[in-house]
């Protein structure tokens, strides 16, 4: 009650933030999930963390509507006919985005934007298209005030894709996040280089290994913080295992690998299953929401993301004095941990996850603002990066192979990279060939920086730190993380 009162009377929360917090508080008054004692204990210890998903899930966490299908068939519930020209398309999308539920209440996926737009720009000049896209992007940035929101480009080169990159570079804003799906066989170097140059100017787009990620599902998209999910579906839930907190419970690696880890994973998996069953069987989402009833998402295209965080610290715990990322002993321990985890995921039967063959899918969770001393997913801690960028990327590739639903590295590049995006592309090609799945970078002098995955403006962080109000929710998350995770000390890669 006092919680709710403090939400209602808060001076720090905006009106919209209050509404969301109140909904959350209401949801949390329910106790509808069966959570065994041991699982509760793990949750209290912070070993299993549900990332504030709420006690009674009434929608999947991440929803990836099939926008192409919506554009083809219209949306009856919203009284939207199939758009006939670019203006109609952009209005159509704005309206539809507004009605896509998610954990943040904002849409986390905006679709393959270049492919959606391309058929509507024939006969329009670049200038005309760019002006419309500018307005569209400004609308998105100012109304989706949370940068866990993602649009995709590529892998094919399109005029729309190039114009989107142009506009993105001019606007320098945090929303939408963009990712280029890159496949050397389909994406011409010139288009990829334009994307990289844009990224070195405005930290956007990130580059995703289309060849490897296409193997996970028939059609995938990138949403939120680098979640790789099926289009026309999404993810019911993302719960994470905070590995260092579990590792702290013992000094004995064998006990960790054979007892603690399997026990915690079993508890977490059962908890996720419980959530999934509630969404599917009780919440009514799939029977009543228009996205489901009109076929823009299909129930059997949803997965369950089994999140991991802090592999580095867990490995270092069992390899005293050694460092994950540079010492083979620590990397070896990390590999043993990953083998146990992926072995578990491969045999656990998860309900309602047809597209994943009824299996849990691993996810390298990027962390939250209250994590201290816990490195994102399977990344190397800031400050421990290998001296050579090649060794860094080779290391990532070794661990990315375990993770189907999203893992990434973020590399700040020296500003000279701007003069030779082709060289950065060579590095990306090499990394992807070795098995790296996803790379994001920004130039060391850029105002926009990537925090754990989302973008924040350094200038906005300064504003927030000096006590001023800021529009983006993610600035509030990013400001403490930028400081506590020492992101300013990320190893800058000279090119």
């Amino acid at each position: 009650m006092s919680d709710i009162y403090s939400i209602v009377t808060s001076r720090q929360l905006s009106y919209e933030q209050k509404v969301v917090a109140l909904a959350h508080a209401a949801e949390d008054t329910l106790q509808v999930l069966n959570i065994p004692e041991q699982t509760r204990r793990y949750m209290e210890q912070g070993v299993i963390c549900n990332l504030n998903e709420g006690n009674a899930p009434y929608r999947p966490r991440y929803i990836m509507p099939d926008y192409a299908k919506a554009v083809r068939q219209g949306v009856k519930f919203l009284e939207l006919d199939p758009p006939q020209d670019l203006d109609e398309l952009l209005t159509f999308l704005q309206v539809l985005y507004r009605h896509v539920p998610s954990i943040t209440t904002y849409p986390v996926f905006l679709g393959d934007l270049d492919q959606l737009i391309e058929p509507f720009i024939d006969g329009l000049s670049d200038e005309v298209v760019k002006k419309k896209l500018r307005n569209f992007f400004i609308y998105l940035d100012r109304t989706i005030t949370d940068s866990f929101c993602h649009a995709n480009l590529g892998p094919k080169d399109t005029r729309a894709g190039r114009l989107i990159l142009d506009v993105d570079r001019q606007l320098e804003q945090a929303v939408p996040n963009l990712t280029l799906k890159y496949d050397p066989a389909q994406t011409p170097d010139e288009f990829a280089e334009q994307a990289i140059l844009t990224s070195l100017c405005v930290a956007n787009p990130a580059i995703c290994n289309d060849v490897l990620n296409s193997r996970t599902y028939d059609r995938y998209g990138i949403s939120s913080c680098y979640n790789i999910l099926p289009i026309g579906g999404g993810s019911y839930t993302l719960t994470r295992l905070v590995l260092p907190r579990l590792a702290q419970m013992t000094e004995d690696k064998e006990q960790f690998l054979r007892q603690l880890l399997p026990d915690a994973m079993r508890c977490m998996a059962d908890y996720m299953s419980e959530r999934i069953c509630f969404i599917v069987e009780k919440s009514g989402f799939f029977e009543s929401h228009f996205l489901a009833t009109e076929g823009l998402v299909e129930r059997d295209r949803f997965v369950a993301m089994f999140g991991l965080v802090g592999l580095a610290e867990a490995a270092n715990h069992f390899a005293p004095g050694k460092k994950y990322g540079t010492d083979p002993e620590a990397d070896e321990v990390a590999e043993q941990i990953m083998e146990v985890i992926s072995g578990f995921a491969a045999q656990y039967e998860c309900p309602y996850c047809e597209i994943a063959n009824h299996r849990l899918l691993l996810h390298a969770q990027v962390g939250i603002d209250t994590d201290h001393g816990i490195t994102s997913g399977i990344r190397i801690p800031v400050g421990d990066e290998p001296a050579s960028i090649y060794d860094h990327l080779r290391h990532s590739s070794r661990f990315h192979r375990y993770i189907p639903t999203g893992c990434s590295d973020i590399l700040p590049f020296d500003i000279t990279g701007k003069q030779n995006p082709a060289a950065v592309l060579d590095i990306v090609k090499g990394a992807f060939q070795l098995g790296q799945k996803y790379i994001a970078f920004y130039a060391s002098d850029s105002d926009l920086v990537r925090i754990t995955g989302y973008l924040v403006k350094r200038s906005e962080i300064e504003k927030w730190n000096s006590g001023q109000a800021v529009l983006q929710n993610t600035t509030q998350l990013g400001a403490p993380t930028y400081a506590s995770a020492h992101l300013a000390n990320r190893k800058v890669r000279g090119v």
Binding site: Y390, R394, G417, Q419, N420, A423, V424, K429, G430
Partner: protein, 244 residues
């Protein structure tokens, strides 16, 4: 493998974006035969230096090997790389063998001051994919004042020879108003391009005092306008330039 030739090296950089197209492994050799006033790396000029070291082709190949997936190629620079031309043939052949072994194409480029005739080393030029050629001045007096070398006739011949053999990767001109006869260089290069009917990209490098010692250590950098003017002038001769 038996790659035993030795090269005198000043340093190696496994990731360079300024030594030719794409991301390259750059090898800087010790020793130069001229003395440019604007030299950024005067420590590489002496033929011997305590910080230089000998490396065999084999050692170099093993240093390149782990970088291969990320590379577009290898560039040998200096000092003056052609002073060790004999040894480089083996290196370039070994790089090509490495590329074949790893199924990853690699180009081999030379970055040279052009004082030694490439035509004298046909085997090396067969293994080499191109030369980035410094044309420091066209007029002999200007050249001598800038480099201490009596003549640049070989440099001029090299422009022609490399172009004819499709090996002129790019022409580099360091622009320093009052010291370098950029206009004359551009005009003469354009004439050679016309007479042969081929072209090559021209890179106009802005003089930077970084690392320079002696007379020019405080010389001002050319302004953006001066660089733009030179680029326009080049365009009038029909030359494609990039500025750095």
């Amino acid at each position: 493998m038996g790659y035993r030739r030795k090269v005198r090296i000043r340093k190696i950089i496994s990731q360079s974006t300024v030594d030719g197209p794409g991301n390259r492994f750059a090898i800087f050799l010790q020793g130069c035969n001229i003395r440019c006033l604007y030299c950024h790396n005067p420590e590489t000029q002496a033929m011997e230096d305590a910080e230089a070291q000998e490396m065999t082709t084999e050692e170099l190949i093993e240093a390149i090997r782990p970088c291969v997936p990320f590379l577009r190629g290898v560039t040998v620079s200096g000092g003056e790389c052609m002073l060790q031309a004999e040894q480089l043939t083996e290196l370039f052949r070994a790089v090509k063998a490495l590329a074949a072994e790893m199924h990853h194409p690699l180009t081999c480029l030379l970055d040279s001051n052009g004082t030694i005739a490439f035509s004298r080393y046909p085997e090396l030029m067969q293994a080499c994919d191109g030369v980035m050629l410094d044309v420091k001045a066209w007029d002999e007096t200007v050249y001598e004042q800038l480099t201490g070398a009596k003549t640049n006739s070989t440099v001029r011949e090299n422009v022609r020879w490399l172009l004819e053999h499709d090996l002129l990767e790019e022409v580099r001109i360091v622009c320093l108003p009052g010291r370098v006869d950029v206009e004359t260089i551009l005009q003469n290069i354009a004439e050679i391009f016309d007479s042969i009917g081929k072209t090559s990209p021209i890179r106009l490098l802005r003089f930077r005092p970084h690392g320079v010692i002696g007379e020019l250590e405080n010389a001002p950098m050319p302004t953006d306008e001066q660089m733009a003017q030179l680029s326009e002038l080049a365009a009038r001769y029909g030359l494609q330039t990039t500025i750095r």
